[in-house]
């Protein structure tokens, strides 16, 4: 087993690199675009500071639900023309990042929206009573009192999409999951597959522990 692993070390390192590449792109787009979308949906929900934009709220909510209801493997295939249009190919880690991001944006938007609901209404009202603008409420209230929940949401996002990136890998995306399938499934090298699974377990542990640590430190309650 050790021989096999040593022999494949360069491939494994490449696969790890590809996984981090896919995860990096997808987390970045999800946190920025999905985060903004989640905040917007929260703010426009009934009873919240921008509730008058009801139409936006309903539309965005519906889009989030539709995209989230696609099984990821189908989204992957369905988006391939779009992927080819954006990055010029539908093969490789960069191409895989497109459907990953498209799935991650609404996923994180929903997490953010639900996390922000835990910020006490009274605190937001106090800020409104002090003359805070919606923008100030986002930056100075929601992202401050909601920050530890948002860190945990990001942790959940990262863990979920680490495993989604393994699926994306199968369709020519590369990465740890791809390696595991190629050697473990197609070449019957079960040891490689097991090693890759262990690697993923360790990565998930690492993400989860770091996330929880940061969330605890951010929370002054």
């Amino acid at each position: 087993m050790l021989e096999n692993l040593l022999e494949l070390t360069p491939d494994i390192i490449t696969a790890i690199g590809e996984t981090f590449f896919m995860l990096g792109i997808c987390l970045t787009t999800a946190v920025t675009l999905g985060g903004a979308l989640g905040i917007a949906v929260y703010l426009t929900a009934p009873g919240n500071p921008l509730a008058r934009y009801r139409r936006f709220n309903l539309t965005a909510d519906a889009i989030i639900n539709v995209v989230r209801s696609f099984p990821f493997i189908i989204l992957l295939v369905a988006l391939s023309p779009f992927t080819r249009y954006i990055v010029g190919t539908s093969i490789g880690p960069l191409a895989a990042s497109v459907p990953l991001s498209c799935a991650a944006i609404p996923y994180f938007a929903r997490l953010v929206e639900q996390t922000l609901r835990d910020v006490p209404r009274g605190v937001i009202e106090a800020a409104e009573a002090m003359g805070a603008s919606p923008w100030q409420i986002v930056w100075r209230v929601l992202l401050v009192d909601g920050r530890s929940g948002l860190i945990l949401s990001t942790t959940v996002l990262a863990v979920s999409f680490l495993s989604y990136s393994a699926i994306a890998g199968v369709v020519g995306g590369g990465g740890i999951g791809d390696l595991a399938i190629r050697y473990g499934y197609y070449r019957f090298q079960t040891d490689i597959m097991a090693a890759m699974v262990v690697l993923l377990v360790v990565l998930v542990q690492l993400i989860q522990t770091t996330g929880q640590y940061l969330a605890r430190r951010a929370d002054k309650r």
Partner: protein, 307 residues
């Protein structure tokens, strides 16, 4: 609506305001007029669900009235566009039963909050925060987080935060209802002092008659979305006419007989030295004073939590 206030000089004036929440059978606030004199401490008392909080929240437009006029000082709030409304709200402080402090901000950062959103300079914010924390006796807790404070201390921080931008008006929604009797007294002392010293007009919602007796110049008795009676506690005692007011004045720890001498009640129940016997006074002489300047020498509450 019986009110003795002249058309001018009202710090808060509600004219025909109504509020009906969607899906509710009756209006939370039926057409209501209310005029609060500058420098007055005005109570709104009534049972739970009477519409007290809704009426209070109409004053700074946390609730939009369905109809009617909301005026605070020289501003007709109900007619202001969003930007001007936010500016006007900076001149209206508000405190709450649940304090509503930001948990992840330190005490000093909480007090700085309204000044930061108004865009004040860091130097002036720092000075003002120190001043206000000193006033409420919590300078030593500047770096603490709200989670580390007692309820009374949290309400003091909330008061310091409300005072920081020098408001002319302070709205208080059951500010002592989450506090024990002794802490309640110390918070009422602070509110009375703010009114007396800085001339801040206070509109306070409560369901406790004892709070009204100890603090208020006048009280509006509210029932099912209407002000059913207004009673002036300064000009001797006019017997309550409505059944609800009679019930309220008869219940609680003081008898109606005692209530005819509010000054005595206030003096008897107040903490020594710090409590101004405001119920005996008319509207404070410095009602026009607006700048709230606190120096260590005149900060009356410093000792409370250091002791």
């Amino acid at each position: 609506m019986p009110t003795s206030t002249a058309k001018t000089g009202a710090a808060i004036r509600l004219t025909g305001v109504t509020k009906h929440f969607a899906g509710s059978a009756t209006a939370a606030v039926h057409p209501t007029d209310l005029a609060i004199e500058a420098g007055e401490i005005h109570g709104i008392i009534g049972f739970s669900g009477a519409g007290k909080s809704t009426l209070l929240r109409l004053v700074n437009l946390l609730e939009r009235p369905d109809a009617g006029l909301v005026e605070v000082g020289d501003d007709e709030l109900s007619a202001l566009p969003p930007l001007a409304l936010r500016a006007a709200r900076r001149r209206i402080g508000m405190i709450f039963q649940q304090f509503n402090l930001l948990h992840n901000l330190s005490v000093a950062e909480n007090v700085a909050f309204p000044l930061r959103i108004a865009g004040d300079s860091p130097a002036s914010i720092k000075a003002r925060v120190a001043e206000c924390l000193d006033y409420v006796g919590l300078s030593a807790k500047a770096a603490a987080y709200p989670g580390q404070l007692s309820g009374g201390q949290k309400q003091r921080v909330a008061i310091a935060r409300a005072l920081a931008p020098n408001p002319g008006v302070l709205l208080a929604d059951e500010p002592t209802s989450a506090l024990d009797p002794r802490t309640t007294q110390s918070i009422l002392d602070v509110l009375a002092d703010i009114n007396q010293r800085f001339g801040v007009t206070v509109l306070l919602v409560t369901h406790e008659m004892s709070v009204v007796r100890r603090l208020c110049h006048r009280v509006s008795v509210m029932d099912e979305g209407r002000i059913v009676e207004q009673i002036d506690l300064r000009t001797g005692f006019t017997a309550p006419r409505s059944e609800l007011a009679r019930w309220l004045f008869a219940s609680g720890e003081a008898s109606p007989a005692e209530a005819t001498q509010p000054a005595t009640v206030a003096a008897a129940t107040s903490a020594p030295a710090t409590a101004p016997a405001n119920t005996s006074a008319a509207v404070p002489a410095n009602a026009a004073a607006r700048a709230i300047v606190v120096t260590p020498a005149n900060a009356p509450f410093r000792e409370v939590y250091h002791a």
